[in-house]
């Protein structure tokens, strides 16, 4: 979270803003980040940072995998066993779900 706030401060300076009103984070299901823990960290750190008063939105990205056997791309609801719904093969080819980043920022205009 600290590195996120650093990056946000950097972006604010770049866009000539002194405040941030909204932060949208994008977190994949396989990123190994617990959204509750992240929110907790945010609430602890934000008030004394550039993000004071900003709203935090977490955009989750479900896991997706591609079947090596038949080429089908499919979503994975839960767990770590990625099985192709079309041919039943297991897949280790992760196409989405590892995202961890800042998707969007909103700054009040000066």
């Amino acid at each position: 979270m600290e590195s996120a706030l650093d990056a946000i401060r950097h972006q604010a300076v770049k866009h000539g803003a002194t405040r941030v009103s909204r932060i949208v984070l994008r977190i994949g299901a396989l990123a190994g980040v617990d959204p509750d823990a992240l929110r907790f960290a945010y609430e602890a750190l934000a008030p004394t940072s550039i993000a004071a008063g900003a709203e935090l939105e977490i955009e989750s990205v479900p896991a997706r995998a591609r079947c090596a056997a038949c080429g089908t791309e499919f979503g994975v609801d839960r767990g770590f066993i990625f099985r192709c719904p079309r041919c039943g093969e297991y897949s280790g080819d992760i196409r989405a779900g590892r995202e961890l980043g800042i998707a969007r920022l909103e700054f009040p205009s000066p």
């Binding site: 996120a4 972006q11 008063g53 280790g92 009040p108």
Partner: protein, 271 residues
């Protein structure tokens, strides 16, 4: 909408807090505005006759690389630049990482220069076990930390002579959970599963297996005695990590070791 001279008025039932001048200035939202923010809104209100403050929404799309990931990428570049293959060996305590490396240094390490970084919470027992005149070894003691991180690897790699080394083994702290989240900058992640553990370990600890390039099924010489069903274990590994190569071996009897050496040889490229 409002004449320039009239201050903006607010609808009675305004939605929750937004950085809109109208709502921000007067909703009586449960969130108190900090003084600088209120000042900024007031300034914007004064500057914008119709009471609108434009919110600039910017798609930034910045990946958040935590400090460890940045250091890991640096290690990867360093190893690549030196032309050495780095392997991160992960398993439960007692799965046979050190025994495997002892034999590997004695056999494969005779013709291809290898080095080892070995992590444990305490003692340099493994470092001493692995110590060979022909292979530099550094012991990392982590104290209370349950995994190696990229910073520890960067420091330990500086402490040994890597000249001529083609294969760097990193023996992680015995733990099937935390090391999964810490990229060390390795080229290959090797997960060991021993026959003294359950065949369902991959199903119980999936993240580490999911990230494996190679899974070594170790201590296969005692599989029958233990009633360990190899084919069940292999199927479980395949379900979680179909991308991973699987080698069954025994560092005691030597079964499967040539296949492991061939894998290492392929990593180092043509000599």
């Amino acid at each position: 909408m409002n004449p320039a001279s009239t201050p903006p008025t607010l609808p009675e039932s305004s939605p929750g807090f937004r950085i809109h001048a109208l709502t921000g200035a007067a909703t009586g939202s449960s969130r108190a505005l900090s003084a600088p923010l209120a000042a900024e809104i007031n300034a914007a209100l004064a500057a914008s006759p119709n009471g609108e403050i434009a919110v600039r929404s910017i798609d930034v799309d910045i990946p958040l690389l935590e400090k460890n990931d940045i250091l890991a990428e640096r290690n990867r570049g360093y190893f690549l630049g030196r032309g050495l293959a780095a392997l991160n060996l992960v398993s439960s305590p007692g799965a046979g990482k050190t025994t495997l490396l002892e034999r590997t240094l004695d056999e494969f390490g005779r013709s291809t220069r290898c080095a080892v970084l070995v992590g444990d919470l305490e003692t340099d027992n493994d470092g001493r076990r692995l110590s060979r005149p022909h292979a530099p070894v550094a012991q990392i003691t982590t104290g209370t930390v349950c995994h190696l991180d990229a910073g520890m690897i960067a420091r330990a790699a500086q402490s040994i002579n890597l000249d001529g080394v083609r294969v760097l083994f990193i023996e992680n702290v015995g733990n099937l959970v935390c090391p999964a989240s810490f990229d060390l900058g390795e080229q290959v992640r090797v997960v060991l599963l021993s026959t003294t553990e359950g065949e369902d370990k991959p199903l119980k600890y999936p993240p580490i297996f999911k990230s494996a390039h190679l899974v070594l099924l170790t201590k296969v010489d005692v599989a029958d005695v233990l009633g360990f069903k190899r084919e069940v274990a292999v199927e479980n590994i395949r379900r979680i990590a179909p991308q991973a190569k699987i080698i069954q071996l025994s560092a005691r009897t030597g079964e499967g070791m040539p296949e492991w050496y061939a894998f290492l040889q392929a990593l180092t490229g043509p000599l």
